[in-house]
């Protein structure tokens, strides 16, 4: 991880690399191109949503005006790239590489302009909208149930996820700021516990979504253990940023392994508790508070593995018990 004091010099060296190395420049161009394609895919797919049908009134305007509006839109989405490209160009100008500086800006303008023209074409040819290759870029080709959950988190819970992750990040970093003269393995657990507890709303939303949109999966021949493992994978992937933070803060390998298992088991425990609590928010908040207090106390007494065992055992048994027998009150 780059120290705060070295951040400017780090980016300056990156920019110098872009200016002086052709292969590095090509890599950066490829990344910017992929970003443009993805943002264009987003713009084009947004035309297809029923709530955005009013956008088709833009077709009443002359083409040049349409391209102007879409250029502004693409330029705005492209803003992070523009910022970096602009500073890199200024560095290039200062280093006397006038051509590279102009080339960097022209390339980005060309990207935005091309994507605007494509978007305008799609807007004026709605029948070709669904056939657009940009619209159909799918990754992965065959999505698994795990991917369904991840897509939901990334599509519908963007804001909740960002706020949760920010709080979780601050909680973990905050605990690592405690000045100690020796390595203390309870610190990552305590910080992580606070961060994981912040995931309660996210998990509640996931459970709500399961009850509304994934009921059809109850008819699929999948064992409850398989479904439980899907959730385990989802939650393990969800805590990757915190795990990365632990690695950066030099948490010992054994503790790191324990922290990963702890995080996964804790989130599964909260998820399964919602079956037991019948999705009652009041009881859920009480449950989360009590669970946090008990967990924090047990971590203080270095009983983290005991906690992992309890979380895993109880969550599996609740999940197996309630998965088929749970009935949403809204039914």
């Amino acid at each position: 991880m780059v120290e705060g004091s070295q951040l400017v010099s780090y980016h300056l060296s990156l920019m110098t690399g872009i200016i002086q190395s052709t292969s590095f420049l090509l890599i950066v161009f490829s990344v910017w191109f992929v970003y443009s394609v993805k943002s264009s895919q987003f713009v084009i797919s947004s035309f297809a949503w029923p709530q955005n049908s009013f956008l088709f009134t833009l077709t009443c305007l002359p083409r040049s005006h349409q391209i102007g509006y879409l250029l502004f839109t693409h330029g705005f989405i492209h803003l992070p790239v523009w910022a970096y490209a602009l500073v890199t160009s200024l560095v290039a100008f200062k280093q006397g590489n006038l051509l590279i500086g102009i080339f960097l800006l022209s390339f980005n303008f060309l990207l935005c302009f091309t994507m605007s023209v494509i978007s305008v074409f799609q807007l004026n040819n709605p029948s070709s909208l669904y056939r657009s290759p940009l619209f159909h870029i799918q990754f992965p080709k065959k999505k698994t149930l795990t991917w369904f959950y991840l897509s939901f988190i990334m599509n519908d819970l963007k804001l909740i996820t960002m706020v949760t992750k920010l709080f979780s990040y601050l909680a973990v970093v905050g605990f690592f700021q405690i000045p100690l003269d020796h390595y203390e393995n309870r610190i990552p657990f305590m910080g992580f516990l606070l961060g994981l507890t912040a995931h309660a709303i996210l998990i509640f939303e996931i459970r709500k979504w399961e009850d509304s949109y994934l009921t059809f999966t109850k008819n699929l021949p999948l064992s409850s253990i398989k479904r439980y493992l899907v959730l385990a994978l989802v939650y393990t992937l969800l805590i990757i940023p915190e795990i990365f933070l632990m690695i950066v803060n030099k948490v010992h390998v054994v503790d790191l392994f324990a922290v990963i298992i702890f995080g996964m088991a804790y989130l599964l425990f909260i998820h399964s508790s919602l079956y037991h609590l019948n999705m009652n928010m009041d009881r859920y908040i009480q449950f989360i508070s009590i669970t946090f207090l008990i967990s924090f106390t047990l971590i203080l007494f270095t009983l983290s593995w005991f906690l992992v065992f309890i979380y895993a055992t109880v969550s599996i048994s609740w999940y197996k018990k309630y998965f088929y027998s749970f009935e949403s009150l809204r039914l």
Binding site: K143, F152, S212, F216, L220, L222
Partner: protein
């Protein structure tokens, strides 16, 4: 084919269905009944979507509670008003069903062709009309090697020219693959189109043959 015994279903303490015993042999059944009589609840129970008291046996040995995976492999279900995540595409769901129901991709492709839905399968479901979602759910219900297919109001929102296609498919699955069907419908199921359809009535919180 399907035997149900001592079925009881309550919502918030209120009895909705009580079926002492019922045995469905191979065939096509038309489940009739008024609004709120419990037709959808019955199908959802049979599909394994709702908890209930009692036993359901498929082919005398596969118990819905004791063998939940085997049972679900052979019983498919299409909802009256299917609800799928809007960001997924039709293909995402078809691939999931194809994999979990161990279906051959050739059969799946044939089903997609029969319902002529390939043109929109790559699009997010959020962009589908209700008729398109219905067709997708019907295709999903035929995927795999089912022994029983439960169709809840399959004709609702389906365009006129697709109805004979669906009825023909039901006929061919019954005669060639010996797949049984339990269908609820407020619309008339034409007897000419469907062979030997038997009536079932859901009334007064219980179910009986007509």
């Amino acid at each position: 084919m399907l035997e149900i015994a001592n079925i009881k279903k309550e919502y918030s303490g209120q009895l909705i269905l009580s079926i002492p015993h019922l045995k469905f042999t191979d065939g096509i059944y038309w489940i009739k009944g008024g609004n709120g009589s419990g037709k959808t609840t019955l199908l959802k129970i049979m599909a394994g979507l709702l908890p209930f008291e009692g036993t359901i046996l498929l082919n005398t040995s596969t118990d819905i509670k004791k063998n939940p995976i085997d049972y679900r492999k052979y019983v498919n279900y299409a909802e009256a008003e299917p609800l799928f995540p809007s960001f997924l595409t039709g293909y995402d769901l078809i691939h999931l069903f194809e994999k979990t129901k161990s279906a051959s991709s050739v059969d799946v492709k044939n089903l997609v062709d029969v319902f002529n839905i390939q043109s929109f399968l790559s699009n997010p479901i959020g962009t589908y009309s209700s008729g398109m979602v219905k067709k997708l759910s019907l295709v999903l219900a035929f995927i795999g090697e089912p022994k029983l297919i439960l169709l809840d109001e399959p004709l609702v929102t389906l365009e006129d020219h697709s109805i004979p296609i669906l009825l023909k498919l039901i006929n061919s699955y019954q005669s060639e693959k010996k797949v049984s069907f339990l269908i609820t419908s407020h619309q008339l199921l034409e007897h000419d189109a469907l062979k030997t359809i038997q009536g079932v009535l859901v009334k007064d919180k219980t179910v009986c043959f007509l």
